[in-house]
């Protein structure tokens, strides 16, 4: 499969970002039914799913080149967005092996990996990279192995060490995050990291999720979708960067609400890594504006119903109250009350 990349897209200042029809239809719309509540919505990460975004181990789309450039910009301003504690070195190599082997197998037109014993050669055609190095020897790469490969991947990644029946966030590459900070969270346990999510703790969601993840097996990754709302197609909505993106929220008007307000979806994947027994957590971010989503009849009906009926505490946690009514007013005329099919697929072959 050959992708047409859009290398000139931006995720800041002028926000030169758009979705092709095919890119919109592959969007992992996060609501399988017309109402939303927290649950342990984890399922096996098998190849294939309701949209094309689930077809590969790591999903690459038309925004790949531009997202890698955005990551490099963030790291140039703030190198602490990538940190790995020293005992995670084995997990770094595990990550590099997993991502390189997966991309080379899933996108042979764009990536290749050849090995002669420990001497590996990696070719990344979209980014124009060819690199020979010795597996296991970090000094043969321009960055540490984890940073090296995640600079060439879409989405954020964290590394969890498993010890004392808990998971510790002991590393990460975090530049495209919904409002959380690696610098603040590094070294935390699973529960500390998930902090004060309303209602979820009471429902025991995190206790069950932790037990499940402690048993996660190599070769049997799992996935789930998470969502929030972001103003403008901005990838970096970190706490560090709040002065830059915070004011965006005051710019929404009833005229621009369709273009400004974006549904931000994280396709989260979790992989047990072989050598280190650590867990790699992939947080792949997708953005679609309300106007884009309104082009898909099922999605616009459902988005309207979910946001209209959303529990007030979840609304507040997701930062919705300020512009929720504008979004509802925008979507209400599109919602004819017709029933929607279960599941997240768009029910369209083309737009």
């Amino acid at each position: 499969m050959t992708l047409q990349f859009k290398p000139n897209e931006t995720f800041r200042s002028d926000f030169a970002y758009g979705k092709s029809d095919a890119d919109l239809l592959r969007f992992p719309f996060p609501f399988p039914e017309d109402a939303y509540m927290y649950s342990v919505n984890i399922e096996p990460h098998v190849r294939g799913g309701p949209t094309a975004a689930f077809a590969h181990v790591f999903d690459i789309d038309e925004h790949y080149v531009a997202e890698c450039r955005e990551r490099a910009l963030v790291l140039a301003e703030d190198p602490k967005r990538c940190q790995v504690l020293p005992h995670m070195e084995m997990a770094e190599w595990d990550t590099l092996e997993l991502i390189m082997e997966s991309l080379a197998a899933d996108y042979p037109d764009h990536f290749s990996l050849t090995k002669a014993g420990d001497l590996w050669t990696w070719v990344n055609r979209p980014l124009g990279i060819q690199q020979s190095f010795t597996f296991g020897e970090a000094h043969t790469l321009p960055y540490g192995p984890f940073e090296y490969i995640t600079r060439q991947a879409q989405g954020d990644f964290t590394l969890q060490d498993q010890r004392d029946d808990n998971l510790y966030v002991d590393g990460g590459m975090v530049t495209t995050q919904a409002d959380w900070s690696l610098e603040f969270n590094i070294g935390m346990t699973f529960h500390e990291w998930h902090g004060p999510v309303p209602l979820a703790h009471e429902k025991g969601v995190f206790d069950r999720a932790l037990k499940y993840l402690l048993r996660l097996q190599y070769g049997r990754p799992v996935r789930r979708l998470n969502w929030t709302i972001t103003i403008n197609p901005r990838l970096d909505t970190s706490p560090e960067n709040y002065p830059v993106w915070g004011p965006d929220r005051t710019t929404v008007t009833s005229e621009n609400v369709g273009e400004k307000v974006h549904l931000r979806v994280e396709l989260q994947t979790l992989f047990r890594l072989p050598r280190s027994n650590a867990i790699l957590f992939g947080i792949r971010c997708y953005l679609a504006s309300v106007a884009d989503l309104a082009r898909v009849p099922k999605w616009r009906r459902r988005l309207h119903r979910v946001l209209r009926d959303l529990h007030p505490e979840i609304q507040a946690y997701k930062g919705l109250p300020r512009y929720r009514q504008m979004v509802l007013d925008h979507l209400a005329p599109f919602d004819d009350g017709a029933p929607t099919s279960p599941g997240i697929q768009s029910d369209l072959d083309a737009l």
Partner: protein
């Protein structure tokens, strides 16, 4: 890596290490690289004997870097008629065996200051997979292998490549002469203990360590996990009026799916709650993390992805 089902392996080579020990080298049947198997990992082999199919787990002794073959060492116990006897007597080079992808329930700690390894008999196998990595990393470790007198020679040969300059000792006098408490009590802070061997040895090591104040998170016993299966039973889907046999190595969910009926499920690991079905009759052995203790005691629902029947029959409202 996403495992796409069992891995067919060809028996490449069988090497006799001693009258009772054989080392098997298994390569990918269709060529290419095998999934990376970390130190401490095991594979579950499906062994098709003349009169029954056996599933046996074996620790891998090959290092993680070795992607072209998996190696296991198998002990044949006199009188045994199980999978290990079958491997010793019924398997020849060139034969094909199926393996599940490697699973690691006995990994090395990434933050230990020192690793204390204790093996009993054939329990040496996962420790053998640790040694190349510990040596390559220059990690501090100490290994004690408990052995019967006749096995001392073979264990010496297996450990010889790692022995120079290392604290590796073979105790040929068996358990009786082995000073477990003495060894545990002289370890520096930050040491992790790994023990593999007969169950009494592992239990003794764990309780001695606990008595000496070792934190439980620093004591690792080899494990192949709880068997996913259990005793076979009959499931009756009352609404459909059908009866299903749930086999020893199958989950209830898999058995329902095998009949072509789509049953609700999501995580397939006892966490999400999606697969819950009401129970009309029969006793459930609950293995999930979803139902509350009261719900479990009430015996009115079963999570089909992990739980089984304790009784011979389970009648489900489905």
């Amino acid at each position: 890596m996403i495992a796409d089902g069992p891995i067919p392996l060809r028996v490449h080579d069988i090497e006799s290490l001693s009258p009772s020990l054989k080392r098997f080298s298994l390569t990918a049947l269709h060529g290419g690289e095998l999934p990376t198997a970390a130190p401490g990992a095991h594979i579950m082999l499906t062994l098709r004997g003349p009169d029954r199919v056996m599933k046996n787990a074996y620790s891998l002794v090959s290092p993680a870097a070795c992607r072209d073959r998996y190696q296991i060492i198998v002990r044949h116990v006199a009188q045994s008629r199980g999978g290990s006897a079958f491997l010793h007597q019924g398997i020849r080079p060139g034969d094909v065996i199926e393996a599940a992808p490697p699973v690691n329930l006995f990994p090395l700690s990434q933050s230990a200051r020192k690793h204390l390894l204790i093996g009993g008999g054939i329990g040496i196998t996962p420790l053998l997979s640790y040694l190349p990595l510990l040596k390559a990393r220059g990690a501090r470790f100490e290994l004690h292998q408990i052995s019967s007198a006749e096995d001392v020679g073979v264990f010496e040969r297996l450990l010889a490549p790692f022995a120079p300059g290392q604290e590796i000792r073979i105790h040929g006098g068996g358990r009786g002469a082995f000073d477990l408490a003495g060894i545990l009590s002289r370890q520096p802070l930050g040491t992790h203990l790994y023990v593999c061997g007969p169950r009494p040895l592992m239990d003794a090591a764990a309780s001695t360590a606990a008595a000496l104040g070792w934190p439980p998170g620093k004591v690792h016993k080899e494990s192949f996990g709880e068997a996913a299966g259990g005793l076979p039973f009959k499931a009756i889907l009352a609404r459909r009026g059908i009866e299903i046999d749930v086999g020893e190595t199958q989950t209830l969910l898999e058995a329902i799916e095998a009949t072509g009926i789509a049953a609700p499920c999501l995580c397939r690991g006892g966490a999400c709650g999606e697969c819950r079905l009401p129970v009309i009759e029969g006793e459930v052995e609950h293995r999930d993390d979803f139902l509350s203790a009261e719900e479990k005691a009430a015996q009115s629902a079963v999570m089909t992805c992990v739980s089984r029947a304790r009784s011979a029959r389970l009648v489900i409202d489905f």
